[in-house]
Symmetry: C2
Subunit: 273 residues, 2 copies
């Protein structure tokens, strides 16, 4: 376990926010987490979680998050407003907006809360895969900057190459870790839930215009479970269910040490082809 919690980690810089009072926070896009158009959706989602975490009225930790990518985020400054819409005894509902020059680029809702011990059961189990160290890391093409901040070791459904052909299924399973290594926290887990490239790339064997429209994350891990992860690799697996009429969905699981399910995530993706 490395204690590289240096404030210089590019992730912390990318989700760094300056409180501006009254539930408002100022942020700035990071070239390190740029995507083809605008920032990596996962880093935007992470910044929204960070905004709630920094809010003085925040209760507990994230239970769920839905982020709607309403329009492009331009390079430069952005503002996040985080409003606690309703606070109950153990849950708190948030409404968030990310704006640039007063124009809404992203909306979100989040549920935060405290947890208690209850009956527990897992109905799904971590896929049987080789250990992270035994799988070679793969790189995205250079023009996808954000991917350089993740060490991705695909055990199934790797990044399509230029000479790729159509693939029979849309499942990708990979070990994923921040690089440089960084202890897992809620913003980092949120970003990782969007680390799965659009499933249409894999099926069609090529990069096509596509982007997440809406992303929902359910957090199964509490803060203690996240702390136990330290900076070890997380196993992620994602697949689509239906493609057609301009959109497709994809669902993902993120697994931690000892096969604990940290989060499940779902998204609807726009696809031009």
């Amino acid at each position: 376990m490395s204690e590289t919690v240096a404030p210089s980690h590019p992730f912390d810089a990318a989700v760094g926010l300056t409180p501006a009072g009254d539930g408002r926070f100022a942020g700035h896009t990071s070239a390190d987490y740029a995507n083809m158009v605008g920032p990596f959706g996962g880093i935007t989602a992470a910044a929204l979680v960070r905004a709630v975490q920094l809010h003085p009225d925040r209760l507990g930790d994230p239970l769920s998050l839905t982020v709607n990518f309403a329009g492009p985020v331009a390079e430069g400054q952005f503002d996040i407003s985080a409003r606690p819409v309703r606070t109950n005894r153990s849950t708190q509902h948030w409404a968030l907006e990310l704006t640039q020059d007063g124009v809404v680029a992203t909306t979100a809702t989040a549920v935060f809360g405290t947890r208690r011990d209850t009956w527990s059961s897992d109905e799904i189990t971590i896929p049987a895969v080789p250990a992270a160290d035994s799988v070679a890391p793969e790189s995205f093409p250079d023009f996808i900057a954000w991917a350089r901040n993740y060490e991705m070791r695909f055990v199934e459904g790797g990044i399509p190459k230029l000479e790729s052909v159509e693939h029979p299924t849309s499942t990708s399973t990979l070990w994923v870790r921040d690089t440089p290594a960084r202890p897992l926290d809620f913003p980092a887990l949120t970003a990782m839930s969007d680390v799965f490239f659009p499933r249409v790339f894999l099926r069609r064997g090529k990069f096509v215009p596509a982007g997440t429209v809406t992303l929902t994350v359910y957090f199964h891990a509490d803060a203690a479970a996240l702390a136990e992860q330290a900076d070890t690799a997380v196993l992620g697996s994602a697949r689509a269910q239906r493609f057609g009429k301009g959109y497709f969905d994809q669902s993902a699981e993120l697994w931690g040490r000892d096969g604990v399910l940290l989060a499940t995530a779902h998204q609807l993706v726009y696809s031009k082809d």
Copy 2:
């Protein structure tokens, strides 16, 4: 289009809204769709979709919906505000709130839009089950009023009886149809996406205090595909992935005629036990 004409079907009465100008709509809870505490979550979600449909600025049909059940909805009148946050060429992002006496009970975001023909593929297929007519309908206990508006024919994971025991899996698969029969539309499909009782009931073999915290629906069917369904039964299947620390998630699919995937839905559920 006025919604004040006396509707003949209880569903239309329950989601009937009176436009009050400026994106506001007045509604009233329906005893027909009452749950143990407050209304059936699916009917609230349906009313939110209806509000956007009635809004004069609405673009296209639902692509996704996330509803956050922030607090109880009391019997009586409620107000829905529907705000088009951002309108793009083919998508429109909505922010919604359901309030009672100015107190927020429910928040939601929705993406509406137009669709175009693109490459299509289904990666999941409708479960092999007996025809609806060959499966006997089951009833919920009388105190769950909303369920009386659905004809539910379970092929797997039926309603726990008082003498039930723990069940090894949380999957329920059922044919579901409005009763009396009613042609399928977006509000009705939305409500059906929440027709699956909390999976913890099935696993534990008993009714325990539980309720949906947040529900997300991805609409795969467009209006033409829904019209083709007419009032035939829809096949729904749902299951949980992880239970623990006060919450669990459940995911569902809704299938129509000829095995077409109409919608996928996900929710996070609070559980006291």
